[in-house]
């Protein structure tokens, strides 16, 4: 099994297209960094204009806030970068005619599917580590570290600088679970196709479709929203909200709604396991002709 996983990882990282995702993330982050470094004051002034009568003191546009802004923009696009690889895992082999040869190896189909999925998960993990390196660590170096101010829909949260880093670890961990679910969707669809275009477009269509449903405030759809994985994908933001005491002062080390994070993790993991189980079930019965 370990050997199989090594082979799959070798195949992923041998392909030039794998590095497109890493390059895209690095360049997008650097564009955001460049813009905010040169014109960040305008952005902060715009944020402040929403609370006339108040003034902010200190290094508002620090590495922690820039990372948050970057993630808000980027995590919408990362599913596409994950799908490029996950949706190609089976369909890519079918396309070049190597799937039959692969099945001739002394491994069960379930082992093969699980190894391929694990390789996808490792790719997703490395992509998020890369994202964390550029979005968090590089921003910390470039913009410095200070308290973090987040403008929520109806309130502002100020988190002490020594209380932020672990929240990012949590947020990236959460994003990894969410992206693994996206990878599982692409992976399942790749079983049905003989080239990767269909599964990639199919996965992105599913994400867009369910995202639209989850953002519509129509009672009919409200009942199904909690069960859609896309509803939970953005809940990494919950790490950046704190409980307050009776004096409305934040309590360091707390999360406003930890249960919301736990629920989302359970829904996402449930989807991932379910989708993988379906993938194994179908692939074991699939008549492989290519």
């Amino acid at each position: 099994m370990w050997k199989l996983l090594q082979i799959e990882l070798y195949k992923i990282f041998k392909r030039p297209r794998t590095y497109i995702a890493f390059g895209t993330i690095a360049s997008l982050i650097m564009i955001v960094q460049f813009g905010l470094k040169l014109d960040g004051k305008e952005y902060v002034d715009f944020m402040l204009s929403t609370i006339p009568g108040f003034e902010l003191g200190g290094n508002v546009l620090n590495g922690y806030l820039v990372c948050y802004i970057t993630l808000m923009m980027l995590l919408i696009n990362v599913p596409l970068l994950v799908t490029i690889i996950s949706a190609d895992m089976i369909s890519g082999e079918a396309n070049i005619g190597t799937l039959r040869f692969l099945l001739a190896k002394p491994y069960s189909r379930a082992q093969l599917i699980i190894a391929k999925f694990l390789a996808t998960v490792i790719y997703t993990f490395l992509l998020l580590v890369w994202l964390a390196l550029f979005a968090l660590l590089l921003n910390m170096l470039l913009f410095g570290v200070s308290d973090m101010v987040i403008f929520k829909s109806s309130y502002i949260v100020v988190i002490k600088s020594n209380d932020v880093f672990w929240r990012y670890l949590g947020a990236f961990g959460f994003a990894f679970i969410a992206m693994t679910t996206v990878a599982a969707v692409g992976f399942l669809l790749s079983i049905f196709a003989e080239n990767s275009i269909g599964p990639i477009v199919g996965t992105m269509s599913i994400i867009v479709f369910f995202t639209v449903i989850s953002t519509l405030n129509i009672p009919l759809y409200s009942a199904i929203k909690p069960y859609l994985f896309v509803t939970h994908m953005n809940n990494w933001k919950e790490f950046f909200d704190e409980k307050v005491d009776l004096n409305n002062s934040t309590i360091s080390g707390t999360i406003q709604n930890p249960q919301r994070i736990i629920n989302s993790v359970l829904v996402l993991l449930g989807h991932t396991v379910g989708l993988l189980a379906v993938a194994v079930f179908i692939f074991k019965r699939k008549d492989v002709l290519s």
């Binding site: 609370i51 003191g57 200190g58 829909s153 100020v158 953002t215 004096n247």
Partner: protein
Amino acid sequence: MFLLLGFSTFADAQDMAPLVNKLKAKLDQVNDYQATGVLKTDIAFIKAPVSRVKVYFKKPNRFRLVKDGGISILPKGGLSVTLNNVIDLGNFVALAAGDATVDGFAVKIVKVLPGDDANDLVLATLYIDEKNLLVRKANITTRENGTYDIGLTYGKFSSYGLADKVVFSFNTKNYKLPKGVTLEFDDEAKTTDAEKLKNKKGRVEISYDNYVINKGFDDNIFK
């Protein structure tokens, strides 16, 4: 007839300028100070931690609050409206508006109106402890930043007229954050503890633990 009667009543109102000037003389002992303390912010739509702050003041009215390595969100101009701004007016009218008790201290209520119409200060009501020559409470209305209540509690620096604890209160119900400033579009069901506090008065409290008075410091701190 009524006009004359009104004028006569106004003229009879006790002129409190001597008391205010005595207070000014006491505060004038302080040319500058640096103070350290703890800042607590209790504003309905702001969730902020309790934090340590440094406060810098130089005559006549330069004031700066710096949060130790952090970020502060404070009412604009509010905290810098010190008693010096009020008392240093030069041209003002101070009228007696009765007697009261604040925190167990007998006080004179004094209405201070600037003589200059262009002054940012519109009206200040000072609750002056005549015996100790201290302002125990103030209500200040400015053109730019609305009305503030300031509560002052004194301790070991009372001889300089410097408070150990200053509480600023102001109305926050008119403030509302527009959605989408940082691309946040939470649904309405996500109410928070902070939202439950809506319509409450905003309150910023600074508890000072030390003052360094008249030792001088670099002016760059105000830049």
